[in-house]
Amino acid sequence: MSVIALPQAESARRRAGPHWTVLLVRRKTTLAGAILMALMLLLGILAPLIAGDPAHMDVSGRLAAPGRAHWFGTDDVGRDVWSRVVYGARLSLLVGAAVVALSFVVGIVCGVVAGYYHRLDNVVMRVMDGLMAFPAIVLAIALMAALGPSVVNVIVAIAVVYSPRVARVVRGSVLVIRETAYVEAARALGASDVILLARHVLPNCMSPVIVQGSFTFAASVLTEAALSFLGVGVPPYVPSWGVILAEGRLYIQQAPWLVLYPGVAIMLTIFGLNLFGDGLRDLLDPKIRGLATERQRAA
C-alpha cells in the first residue's frame, strides 16, 4: 500500500511547489538582473516625471560639470545629460521590446512554416541562412543606409537581422515536436494543421524562443546604441544613448561625464538583461545550458 502511495504523495508535493517566478528570482544573480531591469523600466516609464525636457538647450550653461542643478552635467549645447539619459532608457527599451515582438512574429511564422511543411523548409531556411551570413551590425548598417534614419527604421532593420535567429530556434523545436506521439494523436483525431500548430506544436516550443528573446532584447539595445553612435541609427535629435555618446566623444577631454553616464546606463541595462537571461535559460531550458546558448549569444 505504501509503495503505491509514495509516488502520489510526491506528485502532490510537486504540485504545491513554488511558483515559477519564485524559482526564477531565487538565484541571487537572476534577482539582481531582474532588479536592474525593473529600475531601467521604471526610469523609462517615469521619464516625464523625473527628468526635464531632453531637448531644452541652455547655451550659457554648456558643458557644466555634474552638480545640484544638473545631476549628470550638461552637454555642448547646454542640454541636461540626466534628462537625456533617462529618455535614452525609454528609447532603448522601446527599441528592444519592439524588435523582440517583431522578430518573434516573423521568426515564429517562418520557423513554423519551415519546420512543419517539409516542402518549404529548404527555401525558407536558405533565405534565413543568407541573412545570417551577414554579420549583424554590418547588415543593420546596410539596411539603415537604404531605409534612412528614423526610430521605426532602426526597429525594422534590427528585427530583420534577428528574425532569422528566432526562426532557426523555432524550426529546430518544431522538427522535434511534430514527431511526438501527442501530435500524431491529435492529427489522428482529425485536428486541422492550424489547430495542431496553435494548440499543440507552438506552446511546446516556446521555452527556447523565450530564452532567445532575452538575448535578442540585449542585442537590439546594443545594436541600436551602436548604429546611433555611428550616425546611421536614430536621427540626431532623438535622445539615444548612442547619440549622446557620439556627441560626447568630441568633448571627452573637457566633459568626460558626457561619455561616462550614458555608458554606465548601457552597461547596467545589458548586464541586467544578461543576468536575467541566464536565469531564464536555466529555468526554462536546462537542456541547452552552456555551449549552445553561448553560441546563441555569439550569433
Partner: protein, 314 residues
C-alpha cells in the same frame, strides 16, 4: 570526408546567391527612385540621369539582377560614385587596418580568454570562479565602442600613454602601427575574451565530467596532469570553433571600433559611404565582409574535422 567537403562547398552556393541578392536589393529598398536618392535633394536632372546610366538603373529589374550576378562573377563591384574609382580598389586601400586590428584583437582574446576559462573550471564554484565569471559577464555586457571610449578617456586623456586616435600605416614601421592599434585591439579583444572564457569554462567543465578524467585521477595522476594534459586538449575542440567564429565577429566589431579611434579601415569606408549615399561602396563592403564571414565559418567547420576525429562525416 571528400564528399563532406564537396557538399559543404555546394551548400554555400544558395547562401551566396541570397547574400548577393540582398546586397542587390539594398539599392532598391530606399523609398523613391534610387538614382535621385543617391544624387541627393539638390542634384540636377542631368546628374540623376548620369547616375542612372552609370549604375544601369534604367534597365528592367530582372535584367539588372542578371547583370549584377554577371559582374560579381567577374569580381567587378562597380565604381564608387563619390570616390570616382573602382569599389574593389577602394576596399583594397582600406583593408589593411581592419585586418591587422582583427588579428591583434583575436590574439588578445585568446591569450586572456582561454586561461581565464580554464582557471574558472579548475576552481569550479569557488570564489575564483565566481569573480572571473562576473567579470566575464560584465565583459559581454560592455559594447566594444563604449570600452574604446573609456580606454581613450583613461589611457590617452588622463594618463597620456597612447595616442587619442588615428592609425599609423605599416609602411611607417610596424611598431608605430602596433602602438596605434593597442587601445582599439584591447577594446575589441577584451569583450571577445569574455565570451571565449565562458565557452572555455563550459567545455572544460563538460570534459571534467567524462569518465577518462575519473580514470586518470583513479590511476593516481596529479591534478595538474589531469587538467592541463588530458582535459585541456579535449576542451579545446569547442573553444577553437568559437575562436573561429570570434574572428568573424571581430571583423564586424572592427567596423564600429574604427569609428571610435578614427582608423581608416573598412568600417570608416562603409559609414562614410552611408552618409554620402554611395551605394556601390556600401554594397561592395557588405559583400566583402559577408564573404569573409562565410569563408571563415567554412574554415571553422573544416577545422572541426581535424580537431575531433570522433566526428564522422559522410
Amino acid at each position: 570526408m571528400k564528399t563532406y567537403i564537396a557538399r559543404r562547398l555546394l551548400a554555400l552556393v544558395p547562401v551566396a546567391l541570397v547574400v548577393a541578392t540582398v546586397a542587390f536589393v539594398l539599392i532598391h529598398l530606399a523609398p523613391g527612385d534610387p538614382a535621385s536618392v543617391i544624387a541627393g535633394p539638390d542634384a540636377s536632372a542631368a546628374d540623376v540621369q548620369r547616375i542612372e546610366r552609370q549604375l544601369g538603373l534604367d534597365a528592367p529589374l530582372p535584367v539588372q539582377l542578371v547583370r549584377w550576378f554577371g559582374r560579381l562573377a567577374r569580381g567587378d563591384l562597380g565604381e564608387s560614385i563619390f570616390l570616382r574609382k573602382p569599389v574593389t580598389e577602394a576596399i583594397m586601400d582600406r583593408v589593411e587596418p581592419t585586418l591587422l586590428l582583427t588579428l591583434f584583437a583575436i590574439a588578445i582574446s585568446i591569450v586572456i580568454g582561454v586561461p581565464a576559462g580554464v582557471l574558472s573550471a579548475r576552481y569550479h564554484n569557488t570564489a575564483t570562479d565566481q569573480v572571473l565569471m562576473v567579470i566575464a559577464l560584465l565583459g559581454v555586457s560592455i559594447p566594444n565602442f563604449l570600452l574604446g571610449l573609456l580606454f581613450i578617456l583613461f589611457f590617452s586623456v588622463w594618463l597620456g600613454w597612447f595616442p587619442v586616435a588615428g592609425y599609423s600605416p605599416l609602411e611607417y614601421g610596424w611598431l608605430k602601427t602596433l602602438r596605434s592599434l593597442v587601445l582599439p585591439a584591447f577594446a575589441l579583444g577584451l569583450v571577445q575574451s569574455a565570451l571565449i572564457a565562458r565557452i572555455a569554462r563550459t567545455s572544460m567543465l563538460d570534459v571534467l565530467r567524462e569518465q577518462f578524467i575519473t580514470a586518470g585521477r583513479a590511476k593516481g595522476l596529479g591534478e595538474p596532469a589531469v587538467i592541463y594534459k588530458h582535459a585541456l586538449k579535449n576542451a579545446m575542440i569547442p573553444t577553437v570553433t568559437i575562436i573561429g567564429i570570434s574572428f568573424a565577429i571581430l571583423i564586424s566589431g572592427a567596423v564600429v571600433v574604427e569609428t571610435v579611434f578614427n582608423i581608416p579601415g573598412l568600417g570608416r569606408l562603409i559609414i562614410s559611404a552611408v552618409l554620402r549615399r554611395d551605394y556601390p561602396v556600401i554594397q561592395g563592403v557588405v559583400l566583402c565582409i559577408a564573404g569573409m564571414y562565410m569563408l571563415i565559418n567554412l574554415a571553422v567547420d573544416f577545422s572541426y574535422m581535424l580537431f575531433d576525429p570522433r566526428v564522422k562525416y559522410q
